[in-house]
Symmetry: C2
Subunit: 304 residues, 2 copies
């Protein structure tokens, strides 16, 4: 495969950007990759582990001469970063992002994009509960979806970015920004908020000591703690910027929860059993679609 971009700049060096670096290198998809992170500590760590061909001291320096610039910072920081790099962007360059919310990112970034620069928002649906420059790995995007939200960008620029994501192992699809934000509110944002809430409740309970919650977590709770261990700043920004869709889905969630709570209170076993039977089918669909393992317990191996 020939090189898709000659010069890539990664702005922000967390889990997603570092995984992109290793995946782009694995595929021989790009030429030189520069990187920038806000803290000196992250820049030093990146240099130490060979993350990026060149780590720069400013975002503007990193984007100079780049034909692809990837904004990989929390959603709430996208606007300021876009404003900062705008004067240094090369004509004809593509700017993309990897934020979990699309409408808010477009509103924050698009106004800063100079004439002749292609802005193609994107969102790889991949991640782990770990964060920072050392968390990345080349296989993160394999067989995962990356949603592109072109919003009127030139077809050639969109297709080129799609080739990059496909080269990193992803399947790609295009979507409208508002629909993206609603789908993600269901499949990601609301589940994360609920997991955070459940873990917070357990933490608060004084009669059930911390150590009991931890010791006996294998009965279900530990699955919640994994997603509730994700990056707090990233998730704060997701909820602040995808407010309407998240609140809408949360409303649906509490409505259903109250109905089940009522069934428990009234001893309505048929209602509960019907509900629980219906949800099994969705799991089967996910396993069949190759989006999760069918090994029991995610294939976890117990430690001895």
């Amino acid at each position: 495969m020939s090189v898709i971009y000659e010069r890539v700049a990664l702005i922000g060096l967390g889990l997603i950007a570092s995984s992109m670096f290793w995946a782009m290198k694995r595929g021989g998809l790009v030429g030189e990759v520069t990187g920038y992170a806000r803290t000196a500590e992250t820049r030093a760590k990146a240099r130490e582990i060979g993350l990026c061909d060149r780590v720069c001291e400013t975002a503007a320096e990193a984007v100079e001469g780049a034909d692809l610039v990837v904004l990989a910072v929390p959603v709430g920081a996208m606007g300021a970063v876009a404003e900062e790099i705008a004067p240094a962007l090369a004509p004809g360059a593509t700017v993309t992002d990897v934020g979990s919310v699309k409408r808010a990112v477009i509103e924050a970034v698009a106004p800063h994009m100079p004439e002749g620069v292609h802005f193609v928002p994107a969102h790889p649906l991949a991640g782990t509960e770990q964060s920072g420059p050392t968390a990345g790995f080349a296989a993160l995007f394999d067989n995962r979806w990356c949603l592109l939200v072109p919003e009127g960008a030139e077809e050639a620029a969109v297709a080129r970015l799609e080739r990059l994501w496909q080269g990193m192992g992803s399947m790609t699809e295009r979507m409208d920004a508002d629909h993206h934000d609603l789908v993600l509110a269901v499949t990601s944002h609301t589940p994360h908020l609920i997991a955070y809430t459940m873990v917070g409740v357990a933490d608060d309970l004084r009669r059930v000591t911390d150590s009991e919650v931890v010791k006996y977590s294998a009965a279900g709770f530990r699955d919640f703690t994994r997603i509730a261990a994700s990056d707090p700043v990233m998730w704060r920004d997701v909820f602040l910027t995808n407010k309407e869709a998240t609140l809408e889905i949360l409303g649906r969630f509490t409505e259903e929860l109250f109905a089940l709570q009522r069934a428990i209170r009234l001893g309505d076993g048929a209602h509960l059993q019907d509900y629980f039977t219906r949800t099994r089918a969705i799991r089967r669909g996910i396993v069949e679609a190759g989006q999760d393992t069918d090994a029991p317990d995610f294939g976890r191996v117990p430690k001895r």
Copy 2:
């Protein structure tokens, strides 16, 4: 290690009983194991895969001469099974169960226990989202906790059952029935109800098609679907019989959820970030306690 029980009867042949069979045989912990399941189909499957040394046509036949009888049926069926086997129990036998709720099981089973039979309720905190006689495997209990709720049973009988669980790989602890039911409401029952609810909500949404929910599930939702794929009858019975503790924890959960929802609505980023930072520590505790893997994403390997 010498044999702990000469004759074990497994009543109900699902995930837990079948895993116990393989774990007991792996450890050479017991002599002959008989089994009984309500449906002819399950009994036939058990015979086909060599689950149990002898599969019986009635529960009474299976328990004849057994020095350990394990009730491994849904919590709501425990009382009827106990009544059915009571006349056939050998004097001095131990009866135990593996139910996820303890107070209700004790109330249902204890009245049927004949003089001279030791009833020692227990609950192995282990399982997967799969069910039925073919779902079991010997390592299920390795490094997992088994909680015993002796409720006044003779020390020798309790200690003997503890040795069996330890031989199957478990760590054991004794607990009062009501405390057990509260701890499990936090670490297991409420998380399961919430996961079921979230999956049900996603299933209901018409604008976000089924296929999108399934395709894009890797962003968080799929973790919920795993626990929402657990056995519907077992879980119906858990909620019907651990009603009070579950409703109490659910009340706490909705209170917290409303506080976070309000923070989102008001744009209170500091509240969200604080909350999300606090929950990370619990995850670390669980990994350090050996109750989950520290591999990103549970160590899932993406399919290609």
